[in-house]
């Protein structure tokens, strides 16, 4: 059982506090993604799990055992780095077998394990090559192979796809997903790319400035973001935010409006919102529907820019109160810049946040 549990984990480099008390539970066999903007402490957190960084405060348990002071090799983890970190002077075979060589595993067993890893990753034909003869994706596969032969309870990935080009990234993403299915091991995956997070994760941990913003399944986070940060971070294009005034609050619903918005009622569940206070209304671009006549819909403004992508049209609209919003339409549509436009949406798909 490779349950990973972080309790009140903190990390400081000298005086700077980088991780500020993090609690995360990772179940056995779960695929957990740490996501957040660059510099929020994702790598630091992962490296603490790996044992490459000391834990300043709090406890880290792997498989029910506190491992704060256990050296990396005894934690039952394997790590895959963004920069591949494979040895240029060794062949692929030697690279994959590196950990086995270090630990004096007999030749036959070594060959067997390397062959097995190569089979899983479909790279048998690469085994005798040198890293310089491999593409980026192949190199990362070698690094994953090296992790597999360790037979770890927990795989740790630190932005493994960030150095790959877009097309390859998607292939490898699918492959890592498949690897998780095949091996059933616990995996912790760090990325700043929300698409990777949404597609791979059983559970996403959103981090910001060393603090956990929200933990949950991808759809939970997408449809019920706990705060403005999570709402804005997940989803592409990101959620539109409109400053509104609250006219009335009752029964978990609030009536909000502003210069460009006809009064509507939205849910306030779980939010601290009072009558007369300022609030922020969030609507995803995909839920904004332009109507032919400007007077229809609830939001009113002018088209600033249209990007036609074929199957999709992205429209930037300047609202009457000065806010700019994006609408993403699932069809090809011509909307001339400058024309007046009305945008409708289902209030059930709108989120209301207290003013930050």
């Amino acid at each position: 059982m490779a349950h990973v549990s972080l309790k009140g984990v903190c990390k400081s480099f000298g005086r700077t506090e980088v991780i500020k008390g993090v609690d995360i539970e990772i179940e056995d066999g779960e695929f957990v993604v740490f996501v957040g903007p660059s510099g929020c402490g994702k790598s630091t957190l992962l490296r603490m799990i790996a044992g490459l960084e000391d834990i300043t405060a709090g406890t880290l348990e792997i498989a029910g055992k506190v491992v704060n002071d256990v050296p990396p090799k005894d934690r039952g983890i394997a790590m895959v780095f963004q920069t591949y970190a494979i040895f240029p002077h060794m062949t692929v075979r030697e690279n994959v077998a590196f950990g086995l060589t270090i630990n004096g595993v007999p030749k036959a067993e070594k060959a067997e394990k390397v062959a097995e890893a190569a089979r899983i990753l479909q790279m048998e034909h690469l085994l005798d090559r040198r890293p310089s003869e491999l593409s980026g994706g192949q190199r990362q596969r070698v690094a994953i192979g090296r992790a597999i032969v360790r037979d770890p309870a927990v795989f740790l990935f630190d932005e493994p796809l960030s150095n790959l080009d877009a097309a390859l990234r998607m292939d490898m993403r699918l492959e890592i997903g498949k690897l998780h299915q095949d091996l059933g091991a616990t995996m912790v995956y760090v990325t700043h790319d929300q698409v990777e997070a949404m597609t791979l994760a059983d559970k996403i941990v959103v981090l910001k400035d060393g603090e956990v913003m929200q933990v949950g399944s991808p759809m939970e986070l997408y449809h019920h973001p706990a705060n403005l940060f999570v709402a804005g971070f997940l989803g592409a294009p990101s959620m539109n935010f409109i400053s509104v005034e609250t006219q009335a609050v009752s029964d978990g619903r609030a009536r909000v409006t502003n210069a460009a918005l006809d009064p509507i009622e939205v849910s306030t569940t779980g939010r601290d919102i009072q009558t007369g206070s300022k609030a922020i209304l969030g609507v995803r671009p995909q839920y904004l529907v332009p109507s032919a006549t400007p007077s229809e819909g609830m939001l009113h403004g002018n088209v600033l820019l249209t990007e036609r992508l074929g199957a999709e049209t992205v429209v930037e609209v300047g609202l009457k109160d000065g806010t700019r919003v994006i609408a993403a339409l699932g069809e090809d549509r011509v909307l001339e810049p400058g024309i007046e436009i009305g945008l409708g949406f289902d209030p059930a798909q709108a989120h209301l946040f207290a003013e930050a």
Partner: protein, 356 residues
């Protein structure tokens, strides 16, 4: 486009010109000059006209012969022995000065060995030169590997993140920036036989049991003493080169080794040393060349003595060219040295070539 290329080229050449002409004037030209001189009988100052002598200078330096001597017998055929019981042999001088053996004329004994009763005597037309070749080779063979190894050791030690490590870096590097002449003078005091620091130190450590040695005045210790001092003096320079090499190795590779639980030695063997390959080749070649050029230490500390035990090639070249005003002889030695260093460097390049 073409005109821009030529103008920028012209600017490039203009910048390169000062350096290039200095190199041509002081390195390339003198080299060909020396080669030309080595084929003449030119003296530094001489009333006689210079003559072309072909390879005579080379012959005078390099001619070798082996003379087999039978032990002396009395009329009855019994072996004659001297007072100590050693066999008696004819004098080598009787052969090298005899008109019956023109091939040995002018040669002197270099060394001899015995096989059975027979003595084999190696005679050379220039024994001092031969000794300088042997000393120089010995110097290179000892200094190059020992200095490289010490320098690597120091580089590994100071490549750690410790408080005050910069102090050590400075200390180790200090001898490099002090003039070799000054260093040599200081070490003459250290090695002094009367009241030298080294003898005093050894005396103190052995509670007075140590018998003082005149380190530089003894044929057994003179060359070794100069080697030790030379290694100490330049080790900091090579340490810095190793250090530069060490810092090109990706820290992530060390983390991989750490996760696999590699010991210190395994980390060195699998991560550090392979990563230093190119640096090692560079250092090997640079140290070899520097060691072949050993001069200042000899000039200041021993002047080639005692009994020619510290003669070296460059010292001989200078001594002949300027001391004895035999500029063609000195030039010949430098050409021989050049060919020697060139061929050794080529062999080193070949042995350390990138293998695929």
């Amino acid at each position: 486009m073409a005109s821009r290329l030529t103008t920028s080229n012209r600017a490039g050449w203009t910048f390169a010109l000062p350096g290039f002409s200095l190199i041509a004037l002081f390195i390339i030209l003198p080299f060909f000059f020396a080669f030309g001189l080595s084929l003449t009988n030119q003296r530094l100052v001489s009333p006689n006209p210079t003559q072309y002598v072909g390879l005579d200078n080379y012959r005078e330096l390099l001619d070798l012969g082996v003379i087999t001597l039978e032990p002396e017998r009395d009329e009855a055929g019994a072996l004659l022995r001297d007072d100590d019981g050693n066999l008696e042999y004819p004098r080598v001088r009787e052969i090298t000065r005899s008109d019956d053996y023109p091939q040995y004329s002018g040669m002197r004994e270099w060394f001899r060995w015995h096989s059975g009763d027979i003595a084999k005597v190696v005679v050379a037309s220039d024994v001092v030169f031969m000794k300088s070749v042997v000393n120089t080779l010995a110097f290179v063979v000892v200094v190059a590997p020992v200095q490289a190894a010490f320098a690597l050791l120091l580089a590994l030690l100071i490549n750690q993140r410790l408080r005050g490590i910069n102090l050590f870096r400075t200390i180790y590097f200090m001898p490099v920036v002090v003039s070799i002449v000054v260093v040599s003078l200081l070490w003459r005091f250290i090695y002094s036989g009367n009241d030298g620091l080294l003898n005093n130190l050894l005396g103190a450590m052995t509670f007075g049991a140590w018998q003082p040695i005149d380190w530089l005045g003894n044929t057994d210790t003179a060359l070794g003493s100069i080697m030790a001092m030379s290694i100490w003096q330049a080790v900091g320079f090579h340490m810095v080169i190793w250090l530069a090499g060490l810092q090109t190795i990706s820290p992530t590779l060390y983390e991989v080794a750490k996760i696999e639980g590699a010991s210190k030695w395994q980390t060195f063997r699998y991560v550090t040393w392979p990563g230093l390959r190119n640096t090692a080749v560079l250092i090997l070649i640079v140290i070899t060349m520097q060691a072949f050029a050993v001069f200042a230490q000899i000039d200041v500390m021993t002047g080639g003595g005692p009994l020619d035990s510290t003669q070296t090639l460059v010292f001989q070249a200078v001594e002949r060219g300027y001391g004895k005003q035999d500029i063609s002889g000195g030039a010949t030695i430098s050409v021989i040295l050049f060919l020697l260093v060139l061929s050794i460097s080529l062999v080193q390049r070949y042995l350390t070539r990138e293998r695929r």
